[in-house]
């Protein structure tokens, strides 16, 4: 007989920890193939500092790249959708990351990666 689960008034807390091994990394790999300069990011944050969208909302390409690299892709599509593609980040990036294409490729990979 199946019994209903008991509600004790509390629930298991979602771990904040990034579980790298449990995360999927195919999306990051696909992006790295489509835009290899992904690998050149040094997380300096210049992109986020100059970002037109970042002026109005909490958006950081640096963070998006890191989350992608760690396989933390949940909610990432919504995050990249904030980008206006204006290209300021590309102009200031000290490592010549092709940031605009990166945004497009991340979006595409996330969309294609959906089950």
């Amino acid at each position: 007989m199946e019994r209903k689960s008991i509600n004790f008034g509390y629930a298991i807390v979602q771990d904040r920890q990034i579980d790298f091994d449990a995360n999927k990394h195919e999306i990051c790999r696909a992006v790295a193939v489509a835009e290899p300069t992904l690998n050149l990011c040094i997380s300096c944050g210049t992109c986020a500092a100059t970002c037109s969208a970042g002026l109005f909302t909490d958006f950081s390409l640096r963070k998006v790249i890191l989350l992608l690299k760690r396989g933390e892709t949940e909610g990432l599509l919504k995050e990249v959708s904030k980008c206006m593609l204006c290209g300021k980040c590309q102009l200031v990036c000290p490592r010549n990351v092709s940031t605009r294409n990166l945004v497009i490729q991340i979006s595409k990979a996330l969309i294609n990666g959906k089950p």
Partner: protein, 366 residues
């Protein structure tokens, strides 16, 4: 895993433990959670090993729960602890043995504070004297009760009837040891084996024939963490901590968990029930859970004490499969009878965790 590497570290973390004449300070909560544990400790020390141990009637809580929950100021805590020391001094003892890991940590912290700040010690002596008229000597030796059992582990093994070995196969049982955070994480040099690879329980397991399991989340807290548990809204965090440990130890198929802290066995035991009811998830073979014991209970078990006399019936995860495995006899009919042999009633059976009280037996008792 290289054992010799650990042994090198264990050599660095040894401490002096008094040989006899202990002033015993009980834990606030252990007597309710695992009522047999402290009794077994006294019994083994007194009856089996002939040690002198003073069971003080008038000591109070050390205030550890309140202190760690930020509701009792440190000065108050120190003064209360000073009173415990005064009781020890008055009873004519020098070796303080704490049953509770948090108390042990707190005593260590206070003694270390007084060592670095003598003026604080002087101030506390003054407080205590003003409040109670008592004076005290600091303990010559401070130990946690598990330190003492560790020290006497070979003597206990020599007198034991059973070993932590599978009766059928002769293989050592796989044992997870869990050390209370306050035992050595604050003062690594005050714990046997230090903070990273504590040896206090491992030493007992080795001496009693078991095999120690070292799993990735071994160092993780059980989840008790006073504040987490006391506030109901935070209880989920407490549960999640235990779950993290169970998930990590599960692949090693442990036969049992041994702990040395008041809170840990409580939570590692009861949360297995909560998890099973909330998520349907059970650990251990055949949905029987992983039984959790205090080191005193384990000592009592191998000494051949009656499982129901040492309180194993109050465990949520039933001990019976393990008792069967070791070959310790028990009377299933006696599990739910009181001290005078009266029938206490059978608790409702859990939905997922296996329950070892069949209808037939209970009918007989009634």
């Amino acid at each position: 895993m290289r054992l010799e590497g650990k042994r090198l570290i264990w050599q660095d973390y040894q401490k002096e433990i008094a040989d006899d004449h202990y002033f015993y300070a009980r834990s606030c909560i252990r007597q309710t959670f695992f009522p047999g544990a402290e009794a077994i400790f006294m019994r083994i020390l007194k009856e089996e090993l002939g040690k002198d141990i003073h069971d003080e009637q008038h000591h109070t809580s050390c205030t550890g729960i309140g202190y760690h929950s930020d509701v009792v100021p440190f000065d108050t805590t120190m003064t209360v602890v000073a009173r415990q020391f005064a009781l020890m001094t008055e009873a004519g003892y020098e070796n303080y043995a704490a049953s509770c890991v948090t108390s042990f940590g707190l005593y260590t912290e206070i003694l270390d504070t007084w060592n670095h700040f003598p003026e604080t010690e002087a101030k506390i002596r003054e407080y205590l004297f003003k409040a109670t008229g008592r004076e005290f000597n600091k303990p010559r030796n401070l130990a946690h009760a598990s330190d003492i059992v560790y020290k006497l582990r070979h003597q206990i093994a020599a007198k034991a009837k059973y070993k932590l070995v599978d009766k059928k196969t002769g293989n050592p049982l796989k044992v997870v040891e869990h050390i209370g955070c306050h035992y050595s994480k604050m003062f690594p040099h005050k714990g046997i084996g230090g903070a990273e690879y504590p040896y206090v329980l491992s030493g007992m397991i080795e001496a009693w024939g078991g095999e120690v399991i070292d799993y990735p989340e071994r160092r993780h807290c059980c989840g008790f963490g006073f504040r987490q548990y006391i506030v109901q809204a935070n209880r989920g965090f407490s549960l999640s901590c235990s779950k993290k440990k169970f998930d990590s130890m599960e692949p090693y198929e442990p036969d049992m968990i041994i702990t040395n802290c008041p809170g840990c066995p409580m939570f590692l035991d009861r949360w297995q029930y909560a998890l099973s009811e909330m998520e349907g998830k059970t650990y251990g073979k055949n949905k029987q859970g992983i039984p959790v014991f205090t080191y005193e209970e384990v000592a009592g078990m191998i000494m051949g004490y009656d499982p129901w006399e040492i309180g194993l019936q109050v465990h949520q995860v039933p001990a019976e499969p393990l008792l069967d495995k070791i070959g310790i006899p028990y009377d299933p009919l006696q599990k739910f009878t009181g001290k005078q042999g009266q029938y206490l009633g059978i608790p409702e059976s859990p939905s997922y965790l296996k329950f070892y009280a069949d209808q037939q037996n209970t009918e007989v008792i009634k």
